[in-house]
């Protein structure tokens, strides 16, 4: 049984948002348009936050891609009255769409504000709908949704490994964001396997987790931006 996790190296991340579009394309995220965007109702399972630091001309900007942290102690889970959000055995914080009744308690309780609510049914202008990924269900009005670590890709990789009579290998599963990232800032894999790339990177002295002090125990580990030191 794997324990899926992700490492995001902020010293590599440029804030380019390839991960954001990759996620839209993979996970059938709707386009909400200008009006809804202005109301802060964009559907993003991953977003890139930008922070300014310093004063001109010594200005710096920092980027942090934020997605569901797949917490081990997930604050969203216990508040769901119908168990639509639950913890799966591989450490994924999963959302059962057809159980969800739209109370939005989970979103209120998520300190990372990564959950997105479907205020409406969504519409794809034809033939844009031909692109939709049949491996991912379309969410309808009243459902809560969020990043799944591309669980459909985990399933595909597992089935393929089973067909070939072997275990899943490190690198077999790449969520869409990880796969696209032009700087290789993101790595995904089994945190229980000490030799996996994700475990290796997670041992960095630069590792930290978002809002660690809340005790949520996220499965997403960040590596903080490094400084150049004159060798």
């Amino acid at each position: 049984m794997a324990k899926w996790g992700m490492v995001i190296d902020l010293d590599r991340c440029t804030g380019c948002e390839a991960c954001v579009i990759a996620c839209h394309a993979e996970n059938n995220l709707p386009i909400v348009g200008e009006e809804e965007s202005a109301k802060g109702r964009q559907h993003n399972w991953i977003r890139v936050e930008r922070y300014w630091e310093g004063e001109y001309p010594h200005i710096r900007a920092r980027f942090i891609p934020v997605l569901c942290q797949q917490c081990d102690h997930a604050p969203c889970e216990p508040v769901c009255p119908v168990y639509a959000t639950y913890h799966n055995p591989e450490g994924l914080n999963a959302q059962v769409y057809n159980r969800c009744i739209g109370t939005r308690f989970c979103a209120n309780n998520c300190p990372y504000t990564v959950r997105v609510f479907n205020w409406f049914d969504h519409h794809w202008e034809k033939p844009l709908d031909e692109q939709l990924n049949p491996d991912v269900s379309i969410r309808t009005r009243g459902m809560m949704e969020k990043c799944t670590f591309c669980i459909q890709r985990i399933h595909r990789a597992r089935h393929q490994a089973e067909d070939e009579g072997r275990d899943i290998r490190d690198g077999d599963v790449q969520p869409a964001c990880v796969q696209s990232c032009p700087t290789e800032a993101m790595v995904f894999g089994d945190l229980d396997d000490p030799d996996s790339r994700v475990s290796q990177r997670a041992r960095s002295r630069r590792a930290f987790r978002l809002l660690e002090e809340l005790g949520t125990e996220p499965s997403v580990i960040y590596l903080k931006g490094d400084e150049w030191v004159e060798p």
């Binding site: 579009i21 965007s37 802060g40 001109y56 990924n133 796969q179 700087t183």
Partner: protein, 779 residues
């Protein structure tokens, strides 16, 4: 990335059947031509290799396809059909340029294919130009109209009056267009890109004898000094350079490279730098000369390299010493003298160190000087053709097609002067002026392909009036963009995922490579590959053209080219097998094991310093400083590049990484400047140059120079479909068409503007996120 299994066989015999009836979990590469849609297993995913066409970089892609249901119209009836559908684009893990990675635009490519505003068949104009009145016609009629026109021109000995204006075309498509024009008898195949590369090519030719774009090996560099080239977002090959950047930063145990970025605007690339220097616009070359002066003065240069591989060093040394002392350079560039001294030492002492210049540094009247001075830094530290240095990627060994001979029909017209040439140099202003004046000869027919002059050329050139003078305009655009909406005939091309084409990436990744694109899905509509239309027209016009272009379809032309490649790379075996491998792999590239020997011991290069003396000049700006107090810094948007991405809703909805703006335009103004102007975030302002004015909402941008306003290019379309049309403003409209005189590059960074309050025109959509930033991140 797991290497996908390549299991498709040539015939549809046993092998293919086994694969196709497989479990459906495997990721299989498929050549769509060899496997019909009926054979696809529902629910199974198949991958087809192709090439990205969202910018000129040429990244390799693989496209996930599945069998799916769609509604379509057959004989006026709406029916449901099962067909192969493209579901997801990913980077081709084997392609040496992008190694499985893609940028946001590359990810969005499916919204080109499935765009609801695609043109669905050929159109002929019926109302006045610009009235948007068209009727559908058949391809037979379209070809007939074209052929009649072209035959008539030839009979009147006016073949040169055909002008083929294109963007930077892909490898063999360009060769075909060139052959077509030569065989027809016109010297006027002319290329225009707003964000072009003419200045860099010329700088490299003058200094290194290579009229080509340089490859910068960021991954193995320890120190990178970039001058106004936004290489992590839009410049040249952003995915290749992002990969290199990631490795430079954290790819080598114990070594973390440093990036210093010099640019008038705090771009996304500046944001990733360890240090940003907001330089005075157009003075990048002066800074490079100042750095060179210190490196020379302090004896930090690579003496052995200078002696063996360079020319003109003594005069250059004297120039740097006498004209570019740090204090003077500091005055001109606005970079403190101590910083200049420190950077020079760091650059020289942390080798391999790279200097790379482009973007706005090249887009000035002195852009050529800027780039020459920047390249001189690479020569000073001996970093040409070394790991972590600058090199020129060799082309794959395609064999040349026999040249098209002159014929009695073409001899005279081919010798007519090219309309974009002035004393041997390219000049787009001269081209437009000649269209307008009809001198030295009038243009009769204009073909537009992968170019949108009514959007990307400054209107101050009089583009619209010039087009009005041309009797017959044909657009091959897949969409009704601004220029297609002006055309007499629109013959829509397939989109890139439905097409045959190929691309040799330039700059490449150090090893010879070509990406090949095959139709991933069947064309959705009644469109036609422009290359096929040209072949059809050519063979219908006459026997001489048929002799020069004997191929029935472009695919045959490509295949012949790859036969030559097959012979040259001597892989033996049978060509059909090689061809299938190329189709499965998405191209051909030199294997990795042969590559290292090639890039680590490249051809010796010599560097000539003397062009730094002969091309030295100061930037000039359009617009009086008192009347127009601000510099205008335009830049290609990370979402839309030069505007071509604006019809894709994913890209419209993507928050701009620096400003979080979605679905619109904005102007970036320094907070102090905004205060002086009495405007705040979201207020609308006029931005006015000597040539025009536009409106946009203000973004208070802490990374703007107080004397400069920044506006992204990409929005402000007046056509181009529902997502792009009437949204935002196009800053190209403000440009004064100044040029870099030697290369003919447009100096798009040299216009000055004034800013004033405008009436409110609606909201600025910013995507304000709740922030989860913690102190931990800064520890």
């Amino acid at each position: 990335m797991k290497r996908r299994e390549f299991l498709i066989t040539t015939t549809l015999g046993a092998g293919a059947t086994v694969v196709l009836q497989g479990c459906g979990h495997r990721e299989e590469r498929l050549i769509p031509l060899l496997v019909s849609e009926e054979q696809l297993v529902p629910g199974a995913q198949y991958w087809t290799a192709s090439v990205c066409r969202q910018c000129p970089a040429g990244c390799g892609i693989v496209v996930k396809t599945m069998l799916g249901e769609a509604t379509t119209t057959v004989d006026g009836q709406t029916v449901r059909v099962k067909r192969r559908q493209a579901k997801k684009i990913e980077g081709n893990p084997d392609h040496p340029l992008n190694r499985g990675r893609l940028c946001a635009r590359g990810q969005a490519g499916l919204q080109v294919l499935y765009n609801p505003d695609r043109l669905q068949g050929p159109l002929r104009r019926t109302g006045p130009r610009g009235s948007d009145q068209y009727v559908e016609i058949t391809w037979e009629e379209a070809i007939r109209l074209l052929v009649e026109r072209l035959q008539g021109l030839r009979q009147r000995h006016q073949a040169h009056a055909l002008v083929f204006l294109t963007g930077r075309l892909s490898k063999h498509t360009r060769l075909l267009v060139e052959r077509f024009m030569r065989a027809y008898g016109s010297p006027n195949h002319i290329t225009y890109e707003l964000f072009d590369d003419a200045v860099e090519r010329r700088a490299n030719e003058l200094t290194m004898g290579r009229e080509a774009l340089a490859t910068y090996d960021l991954a193995r560099a320890r120190y990178v000094l970039s001058f106004s080239a936004p290489f992590l977002e839009t410049w040249r090959s952003p995915v290749y350079y992002s990969l290199g950047f990631g490795s430079m930063r954290q790819g080598r145990p114990g070594v973390r490279g440093k990036l210093v970025h010099v640019e008038p605007r705090f771009s996304l690339t500046a944001a990733s730098a360890d240090e940003w220097l907001p330089i005075n616009p157009g003075t990048e070359g002066t800074l490079a000369m100042g750095l060179a002066g210190i490196i020379i003065e302090e004896n930090l240069f690579d003496r052995a390299f200078i002696e063996r591989h360079t020319r003109g060093f003594q005069a250059f040394r004297q120039l740097a010493r006498e004209e570019y002392p740090p204090e003077r350079v500091s005055e001109i560039t606005a970079i403190p003298a101590e910083t200049i001294v420190r950077l020079a030492r760091e650059f020289a002492q942390h080798r391999p160190s790279l200097a790379l210049g482009g973007g706005a540094a090249a887009a000035h009247t002195n852009g050529l000087f800027n780039l020459i001075a920047i390249q001189a830094l690479n020569a000073l530290v001996g970093n040409l053709g070394r790991p972590g240095g600058l090199s020129f990627t060799p082309d794959p060994p395609f064999q040349e097609f026999p040249p098209v001979p002159e014929t009695p029909q073409t001899r005279e017209s081919l010798r007519q002067p090219r309309l974009d040439r002035v004393d041997g140099a390219t000049s787009i202003p001269a081209l437009i002026e000649r269209w307008r004046s009809g001198q030295p000869y009038a243009v009769d027919t204009l073909f537009l392909y992968e170019v949108n002059p009514l959007f990307t050329l400054p209107p101050a050139l009089g583009v619209r009036e010039a087009l009005q003078k041309i009797p017959f305009i044909v657009s091959f655009s897949s969409f009704k963009d601004e220029s297609a909406a002006w055309a007499d005939l629109i013959l829509p091309d397939h989109t890139y995922l439905e097409s045959w084409w190929d691309e040799v990436p330039e700059p490449g990744a150090g090893q010879p490579a070509v990406g090949l694109a095959q139709p991933v899905v069947k064309p959705l509509y009644n469109t036609r590959l422009t290359s096929d239309v040209l072949l059809h027209v050519a063979r219908t016009i006459g026997d001489d053209m048929r002799a020069a272009l004997p191929w029935e379809r472009f695919e045959d032309f490509l295949k012949e080219a790859y036969r030559g490649l097959h012979r040259a790379v001597g892989e033996g075996g049978d060509f059909e097998h090689f061809w299938e491998e190329v189709l499965k792999n998405g191209g051909w590239w030199m294997p990795d094991d042969q590559r290292s020997s090639l890039t680590d011991h490249p051809e010796p290069q010599t560097f000539d310093f003397s062009p730094a003396l002969s091309h030295r000049r100061q930037p000039t700006f359009a617009g009086d400083e008192r009347a127009y107090p601000f510099h205008l810094h335009i830049y290609p948007s990370i979402a839309f590049f030069d505007g071509r991405g604006a019809n894709q809703p994913w890209l419209q909805e993507m928050p701009d990484p620096m400003t979080t703006v979605a679905w619109g335009s904005w102007v970036e103004i320094h907070p102090r400047t905004a205060e002086q102007l009495g405007v705040s975030e979201g207020d609308w302002v006029w931005i006015e140059s000597p040539h025009g004015r536009i409106q946009a909402p203000v973004v208070l941008f802490p990374g703007a120079r107080p004397d400069t306003v920044n506006i992204p290019v990409g929005q402000g379309h007046q056509a181009y479909g529902r997502y792009a049309k009437d949204r935002g403003a196009n800053p190209v409209r403000l440009l004064t068409p100044l040029m870099e005189p030697v290369s003919g590059g447009l100096a798009w960074a040299a216009t000055r503007v004034k800013v004033s309050k405008a009436p409110d025109r609606g909201r600025l959509v910013t995507v304000g996120y709740t922030r989860v930033h913690t102190e931990a991140e800064r520890r």
